[in-house]
């Protein structure tokens, strides 16, 4: 009985975890690799959703639409990085500026504050139609589809971070001076990194709109917190400095957060929890995890003074 309930929760939580996992991969690039606190995400997530919804409503080619959403996100990221690079605005503020500008742009794209795409053909309905005869439940088809998408994005990222450019990006977050000494312009690297990050976030937004069957300007509200929490929880579960494992941990982190959320929503009432308390619980969870990480880190330092720099 309990087993059945757990499966049920996982089936509901998995699509959210995977879609938000894509977003978290984007957040991971800026926060962990570039060390650039980027809040553009709150705007680029609904941007991807808005572009996708607009094209769906107009019956445009869905895969080109997905690509345009991706490009839209990249543009948003490049704008943030440009504000930071050329007007010398701190990264945090640059992201906020782009984020608020995107609010207006998203309303322009949607032609209002929301757009409903129920009954429209989307990539997801196409996939479901494709496997309609196989008797696999729709939920499962979608979960498998999202797993494949996440794996593709993850593997492409893994590959990218093993190229010269990717390695330089990783180096820059740790030590800008080293990159400068190599004769590489860090400004260009930031353009590429922040652009790519927001492109991935917008892609996640595009899938989210199709999954939810609508796009809304407020979709991105506070989504950066979900992204960050995914990265932090992921790091807690899998401690590694191998990019393959780190990207995997980010997706796992996102899935765990969504599972907690769903569990809270479904069974919170039994322990007098309201859905509005979930944010408080998420906060506590993060505090505990961050606290434990720091304690573990200190213990490691005192035990083995020689080994340094590998964890976190």
């Amino acid at each position: 009985m309990i087993f059945k309930q757990i499966i049920n929760i996982l089936i509901v939580a998995a699509p959210y975890g995977l879609i938000y996992g894509i977003m978290a991969l984007g957040v991971f690039i800026t926060f962990r690799i570039l060390d650039f606190p980027d809040l553009t995400v709150d705007g680029s997530f609904p941007l991807g959703a808005a572009i996708m919804a607009l094209f769906i409503v107009n019956g445009f080619n869905l895969y080109i639409a997905l690509f345009i959403s991706f490009l839209g996100g990249i543009t948003a990221g490049i704008i943030t990085a440009s504000i930071h690079n050329y007007i010398k605005v701190p990264g945090l503020l640059a992201g906020i500026i782009t984020m608020i500008m995107l609010y207006s742009i998203n309303i322009r794209i949607l032609g209002g504050s929301n757009l409903q795409i129920l009954k429209r053909k989307t990539i997801l309905t196409n996939i479901i139609d494709l496997f309609n005869k196989t008797n696999i439940p729709e939920e499962l088809i979608l979960i498998i589809f999202f797993i494949i998408i996440v794996i593709i994005i993850k593997l492409l990222l893994d590959l990218f971070f093993h190229t010269d450019l990717g390695l330089t990006l990783r180096a820059m977050g740790d030590n800008t001076q080293m990159v400068l000494n190599q004769g590489i312009n860090p400004d260009i690297l930031k353009l590429i990194g922040v652009g790519m990050s927001n492109g991935i976030v917008a892609l996640s937004g595009a899938f989210f709109a199709q999954y939810q069957k609508f796009a809304d300007t407020n979709l991105g509200q506070g989504i950066i917190i979900t992204g960050l929490a995914s990265v932090i929880i992921g790091e807690f579960i899998i401690r590694s400095n191998k990019i393959f494992l780190i990207t995997l941990s980010v997706v796992l982190g996102a899935t765990i957060i969504q599972t907690v959320e769903i569990t809270g929503r479904m069974y919170g009432a039994y322990v007098f929890l309201k859905p509005t308390d979930l944010k408080l619980i998420k906060g506590f969870l993060l505090i505990v995890i961050l606290g434990i990480s720091i304690i573990l880190k200190q213990r490691k330092k005192t035990n083995k003074k020689i080994r340094t720099g590998l964890t976190l």
């Binding site: 049920n8 929301n114 409903q116 069957k213 809304d216 300007t217 407020n218 769903i262 859905p275």
Partner: protein
């Protein structure tokens, strides 16, 4: 001396120009709505149509949309204050609250506000306030749940509402009360923004016989998600808003015609323009039976294997069958 004379003369010349302009000047009405969705849009249209029909042809409307942003609603209120509009209209609770919080010397008419007292717009709905009156859209929750129980014998009812909208909380309380009276188990799920609606629906869908969606702006803007989840599990949805229900697959919708509520709001505005004091104008409720519409979607009923009793079909004002909308 010469200069002073010139100034006095020019002032004498200017003053009549000003007063003449005041007489010919158009009536300015500022309408601020929280978000653009079919129900609120038809309130706006109802107001304009009613005033036009009453012979006000010289009204200049300033139509503003806050797009769901409470800060934007505040800015709109500031704008109306600066522009010195004759009447400021707030459609939906947050925009009306922003107007009342900002403007103290211009008559404010609220519309589509569920609980004017709870939202702090008026101290008492039996009377108006110094510069505030309006029309409440308190939906007849009890009748709606009763109607739903007549259509299908439900034992467990789910409701999804946003925990940061005052009117949604009021309706949730009324729903709970109505459920208790009708011996239905009440199950709720709350959301903070539209991104959570689908998840909220999924969290209760296995525990309910039907879902009731009221006049909640956040949930209505994500209505497709609820319909998607409910259709998959073959759970019927009852909505409180027939005007938007034709576009979205709900089994039944029972509630106000928001357009007619707009017309009533238009009448209230006209009374103020004619000089009536808001303090003498109690909050209006849409108690008129004629303004209640019942929409039944037979296509959805067929899909859910539900037989709609004949007397309900006869009572319905809008029936959707084979994709066609039949108005009675």
């Amino acid at each position: 001396m010469k200069k002073l004379l010139i100034i006095i003369f020019s002032l004498i010349l200017i003053i009549p120009v000003f007063s003449a302009e005041k007489k010919n000047s158009k009536i300015k009405i500022g309408i601020s709505k929280i978000v653009s969705h079919p129900a609120l849009d038809s309130v706006e249209k109802g107001i304009k149509d009613e005033l036009k029909e009453m012979g006000y042809n010289n009204i200049k409307y300033d139509l503003q949309n806050a797009n769901g942003d409470i800060n934007a609603a505040k800015m709109i209120a500031e704008k109306f204050k600066q522009d010195k509009v004759n009447v400021a209209v707030g459609i939906a609770t947050p925009t009306a609250q922003a107007l009342v919080g900002t403007i103290t010397d211009i008559p404010i008419v609220f519309s589509a506000v569920t609980d004017p007292e709870g939202a702090g717009l008026v101290r008492n709905t039996q009377k108006g306030d110094a510069n505030v009156t309006g029309v409440s859209d308190l939906t007849p929750v009890e009748q709606q749940i009763h109607m739903l129980k007549k259509i299908i014998d439900i034992k467990k009812l789910g409701i999804i509402y946003s925990s940061n909208e005052v009117n949604s909380i009021t309706i949730a309380k009324l729903t709970k009360k109505a459920c208790k009276m009708l011996k239905i188990k009440y199950i709720e799920a709350t959301v903070v923004n539209s991104a959570e609606v689908k998840m909220a629906a999924e969290s209760i869908i296995d525990r309910v016989d039907a879902i009731y969606i009221s006049t909640d702006n956040t949930v209505v803007s994500a209505f497709s998600s609820v319909v998607d989840v409910a259709t998959r599990r073959k759970i019927p949805i009852m909505s409180a808003d027939p005007s938007s229900a034709a576009k979205i697959d709900v089994l039944a919708a029972y509630g106000f015609n928001y357009y007619k509520m707009g017309r009533v709001t238009g009448k209230v505005i006209a009374e103020i323009l004619e000089g009536k004091k808001t303090i003498d104008m109690p909050t209006r409720y849409m108690t008129d039976q004629d303004s209640l519409d019942l929409l039944i979607n037979l296509d959805v009923a067929k899909n859910l294997n539900i037989d709609i009793p004949k007397y309900i079909k006869d009572a319905a004002t809008i029936i959707i069958e084979n994709g066609k909308i039949i108005n009675k």
